[in-house]
Amino acid sequence: MLNYLLIIGTVYILVLMFFSWRTKKNIKNSTDFMLGGSKIGVAIGLMTFAATLFSTFTLLGMPDFSRIHGVGAWIFLAFSDAVMVFLILWFGFYLRKRVGNSPYQGMSALLQSCYQNRLVGYLYFTAVFLFLTPYIAIQIRGVAIFLVSAFPNFIPVWGWSIGIVLIMLIYSELGGLKAIIYADSLQGTLLLIVVWIVAFNCLNEVGGWSALFEEVASVDKKLLSTPGPTGLLSPQFLIASALAILMIPVTQPQLSTRLVIMKNYNALKKMATSVGFFAILVILPTIIIGMYGAIFYADASTAEFLGSVLLNEQHEMIAALIIIGLFAAAMSTSDSQLFAMGNEIKGLLRLKENDNLRPIRLVILLFAVSALIFSLLSSDELVLLARLSFSGTALMGPMILLGIFSQKPQGFTMIFLSSIGLLIFILSNLNLFPKEIFSLRTDLFLMLFLGFCALVNYYLYKE
């Protein structure tokens, strides 16, 4: 496998270097570097949005999640993504209208302008910093534990993790957002091909589509419905997850940036529909792989299951392609997030076109180091960590929507309530606050409460 890995890896690095070289010569100022020229068409828009959204969390996390919790994993991610793309139509329009023709300085600066309050920008940045850290950590840890399975007794998890972070930093530093977007396109295509090859191999092994579910039923019937064998996929969990995922383009800066830099609304609406279809195409095979895992690796650990299905059972060339595909997935998602954080800082510090980018680079570095440390300390439950990230940032959703849709500043109430909500959510995750409020999960209660408050706030200010 090592030979295939060297060949495919070299080709991949050469392609990345080419993208980096091609985009670097077009960078004239910090906006070109941070926003990639802001003229993204449908095809590239689809790939960069999808690659940023679907990462190691999808390729590694989802098969493992559906292996343990069953077919309800589809509702958890695919259904939620479908509703999310619908929201893009509406939110994308108003976000682009708000930004107008001025260069996009990030959501923090936009919120400061909407609310005429500097605190709101810092609150948003804090939430994003805190809850994107586990999401980047997932990418690093996912690939690192996978590489340890591929090359046991070679380099420890922390060694791979540091290597991954270094490559991410170097690549984002070299070519700017446009280079990342091109790398995303490559990664999106690679992810789709790889995940279907593995799924087809799983189906062949088990004897076809119908046989897959018959075998699963004989192992544990609970895998074929909600809430699944562990009872995790309850309606409350799935509704809270859907709300959190729905808010991703609103609250996570790497995705809201992509809505802004699309060429025009026409391209954006086509991109939204295409992302919906792409989501179905990517998530379905992960369910197949998960069901296969439930049959043959029911009691295996995450690393054993993924190592066996994605590496040991595959042809050496496919296994090498999977390793590169996973690495590419982790890199494109993390780079996008690192970059979005840089843009947020640029907006918060009100840096101008030709200002020095050193503060941005320092924040990117600090963010990457935080993610690296988190990745070394976190568990292997990639999907649940991703959900924590989605829920944490989703709490900022009502405040953002209120600011974007309102014609005039909306006062301080939502900023105050959102910061209290964020504090409660953090305390709840640290087991310092109850996990339920009025029989509702704390995250679900907070999302509903903040959503309701934003509506009341809107109508009060309207009058």
């Binding site: 309800g72 509702i75 909600t226 919906g276």
Partner: protein, 75 residues
């Protein structure tokens, strides 16, 4: 039917799809049957309703951009 009403109908349809997906009718504990194309109920119904929402997104995108065509001229 004017575009504003059409857009409202599409939004209501998406809300309705979401309500159905999370209703006890669909989320009934351990409901596996009826099977369709070899898939258990939770999966095929989930796929169907996700596809429906994506189709509504495609139609909604067309309707919404027509509805906001004046504002989009500057885009």
């Amino acid at each position: 039917m004017n575009l504003k009403n059409l857009w409202r109908i599409i939004v209501i349809a998406v809300f309705l799809c979401s309500a159905i997906q999370f209703s006890p009718l669909v989320m009934d504990e351990n409901k596996i049957a009826p099977y369709f194309l070899g898939m258990p109920f939770t999966l095929w119904f989930g796929i169907l309703i996700s596809l429906l929402i994506i189709i509504l997104t495609a139609i909604g995108g067309y309707v919404f951009s027509r509805l906001k065509s004046e504002e989009l001229k500057e885009d």
